[in-house]
């Protein structure tokens, strides 16, 4: 009897001793561990345009251009570029760059990469961009100067190049698509080391990098999907940086003495798309305005977002071409909204269905609920239809919704590109994310005019005009807010981290001062 009991006690004690020894494993000085919310899916640089993947691959790969931490375009694999005419872009390529497998970077790789963008499933998600490229040619026999010709005028061509990563022609052609997605070979400051899916993805510094070799030698990216586990991981110091602190747990994390929370206004704007089919109530501008004015965005930010969002009067964010600081939100005024509804002949309100994802944006379903409640106060009966993103986005793609919540930020920093995807009438190559089949001839015409302008400043002015008319006059969408990105940094190790607006985590921009 006594022996059984003592054996059990012994086992428990042994277990405890074992664990106390292990927990003290301190990380090396030049290593860092970052926890992300969504697991990386592929390391095929063109296989996904999601920032969860691009943000990690940007450590391994480089584009012709690079965006610094402020979002400015700076040279990458191209040392300079210029737009010769509306269809031609000239690039000077960087010499002496090597891929991680030892191959030299040449203009052939650029040509190969740009052609690869056109290949559909499963190679590329940059089909539209790839499709706009007509040819890539050497200039006067100089392999370090190339001209890229586009089929149509693509004013934001260069603005997309920081996320179009250049691949090695030889090793990409000789490997299967699965292998390419598992073992990436790039030119970037970090080499791919190991990826155990669901566990971690390890990178090591590229000592042969053409630029400055980064101080952090070993970087580990750990996906932790469960919010409470992520919280425990940062509070216990198991990870150094945590991406996506959930807003509902923000105060808990911020209040912890070992953790510092760093926030940055996110580029993503959340807005409500609204159809304007002939005969529907929402085809009347007065009704659109009434709905806008009936939504109390301040309350949404305070109650739903726990204060972690900023009101948005337009879809683009400040650094985006076409952003117009003079655009203001319509004030919250339910009384005026009722008057407008009565003028439009809907004094008794009407019924509308609000569709939205429930697993895509911060508190998306809760925002929909709040909007429905607020609209009901002016007599508009809103039926809620929130669903997983896997179901929601195909519906957007079919343009069958009346009223929907969606978020957007433009990776190319160009409102012209945003407009063609979000608001432009649905036709070949246009309006892909225009979920309600919204259509306005005036706005479409303004965009087409802007596409013919080569001078960037003049074009920006045109896009601002387009933006202003779309938001203030046509109310093409009801903008709600910009999200806020929150990162938690473990204080113990002196990690210096400044978040990027594009949510990419670039280890070359992180340092440790101990």
């Amino acid at each position: 009897m006594r022996r059984i009991r003592s054996t059990i006690i012994l086992i428990v004690i042994l277990g405890l001793i074992l664990t106390t020894f292990t927990s003290g494993l301190a990380a090396a000085k030049d290593s860092i561990n970052v926890a992300v919310g969504s697991p990386p899916q592929t390391m095929n640089p063109h296989g996904s345009d999601s920032d969860a993947n691009l943000g990690i691959m940007a450590n391994i790969f480089e584009g012709l251009l690079y965006r610094d931490i402020e979002g400015h375009l700076v040279p990458g694999l191209a040392t300079s570029y210029e737009r010769l005419d509306d269809l031609t872009w000239r690039f000077t390529l960087r010499q002496g760059v090597k891929f991680h497998n030892g191959n030299d970077f040449t203009w052939e790789d650029v040509k190969y990469t740009f052609n690869r963008l056109k290949e559909p499933y499963p190679v590329s998600e940059f089909l539209a961009f790839g499709g706009s490229i007509e040819s890539v040619e050497m200039v006067d026999g100089d392999p370090w100067t190339i001209d890229v010709k586009t089929r149509i005028s693509v004013p934001y061509f260069a603005d997309n190049l920081h996320q179009v990563f250049i691949m090695d022609k030889e090793s990409t052609e000789s490997r299967s698509i699965g292998d390419i997605g598992q073992n990436p070979i790039g030119t970037g400051p970090y080499k791919f080391a190991e990826w155990v899916k669901g566990s971690y993805l390890k990178l090591t510094a590229n000592e042969d990098y053409w630029g400055e070799v980064p101080p952090i030698k070993n970087a580990e990216i750990t996906p932790i999907t469960e919010p409470s586990t992520r919280l425990a991981a940062i509070v216990s110091g198991q990870v150094d940086i945590l991406q996506d602190v959930p807003v509902e747990l923000f105060d808990t994390v911020a209040g912890h003495e070992d953790v510092e929370v760093v926030t940055i206004p996110a580029r993503r704007a959340i807005y409500l798309g609204l159809g304007n089919k002939k005969g529907s109530p929402t085809s009347d501008i007065r009704v659109r305005k009434a709905m806008y004015m009936a939504i109390d965005e301040e309350e949404i930010i305070e109650k739903v977002m726990f204060g972690h969002a900023f009101p948005a009067a337009q879809i683009p964010d400040e650094p985006t071409v076409g952003y117009d600081s003079s655009i203001r939100r319509f004030p919250y005024d339910p009384e005026r909204a009722k008057v407008l509804l009565a003028e439009a002949g809907y004094a008794d309100g009407f019924k509308i269905t609000l569709t939205g994802p429930n697993d895509r944006y911060v508190r998306d379903a809760q925002i929909c609920e709040a909007v429905a409640k607020q609209l009901s106060k002016v007599g508009i009966e809103v039926e809620l239809d929130t669903k997983p993103k896997a179901v929601f986005f195909p519906e957007v793609d079919e343009h069958i919704l009346d009223f929907y919540l969606i978020g957007w930020f433009d990776g190319t920093y160009d409102f012209g590109r945003s407009f063609t995807k979000l608001i432009h009438s649905v036709e070949e190559g246009y309006g892909g994310l225009n979920g309600s089949d919204y259509s306005d001839a005036t706005l479409d015409k303004l965009l087409e005019e802007s596409e013919e302008i080569i001078d960037p400043a003049e074009r920006a002015a045109k896009l601002q005009l387009l933006n202003r008319i779309a938001m203030e006059e046509k109310i093409a969408a009801i903008t709600l807010h910009y999200q806020e990105d929150a990162y938690a940094v473990y204080k113990g190790r002196g990690v210096e981290f400044t978040p990027r607006a594009d949510t990419w985590i670039l280890f070359r921009e992180i340092s440790i001062n101990e």
């Binding site: 106390t20 971690y200 198991q238 986005f393 994310l433």
Partner: protein
Amino acid sequence: MLTLAGRYATKAQQEAVRVNMGLDKPFYVQYIVFLKNAVKGDFGLSYVSQTPVLELILERLPASIELAMSAMCIALLFGIGLGVLVSLNPRNFISRVIMTGSLFGISLPTFLIGILLIMIFAVYLGVLPTFGRGEVIKITEGWRTGFFTIGGLSHLILPAFTLGMYQLAVLLRLTRGGMLEVLREDYIRTAWAKGLPSKMVIFKHALRNALIPVITMAGLQFGELIAFSIVTESIFQWPGTGNLLLTAVYETDHPVIVAYVMVTSIIILFVNLFVDILYGYINPKIRYE
């Protein structure tokens, strides 16, 4: 279609992908093609990672089996150990505490146990890691184990306890019930009367007979531990198959989901078959003649 062709594909490009994937054929043709490939172990490519689905699952399986085995060991060791302890002095204070505790084990949901354990051992006490598998040793390509490193073992403790808690409680109560019954039997009284040492009576005569239902139960649930550790795996970010399934569901990666269901049903089938065979060996009375 959107997942496959990419969000920005035009209608024509989407159609091209459809034809390329054979999705334009009638569903029965697609199904026959699927069956033909599945028999050969080819469940297709994951939509997301573009690698063979079976590889993805087999890569994760060792982690899940390791976790399930550890959970089972903990459940057997503590379940039977404590069960015997309790049955010997059913009325003493410690026994009552253990029995009440076992009720918590049965009724508390796994995710709550997991989060509570993380809070106590990882956040407040800071002795155990909160997530992941820690240091692993590569045995062969695709098979890594955390059994042989201290880091690996310390990462295993919390998830294994969480996963095994329910089994532990069930086995404890089963052992106690069985033991209490057996201890009243005449042959035990005879054994005591013969003056056999208590170790002999308890373990050789009593426990052996009380164990039969326990072993059956444990065996039947082992397969389920491998297959349905989804909650535990997601709480502890354990890189096993449950975690893979959850991610696949979020990403609507159908080939992974289908293959996962197939593989786990095969595992459960074989574990149950194995237990049935084992049953006959432990208790010769129920051998099929």
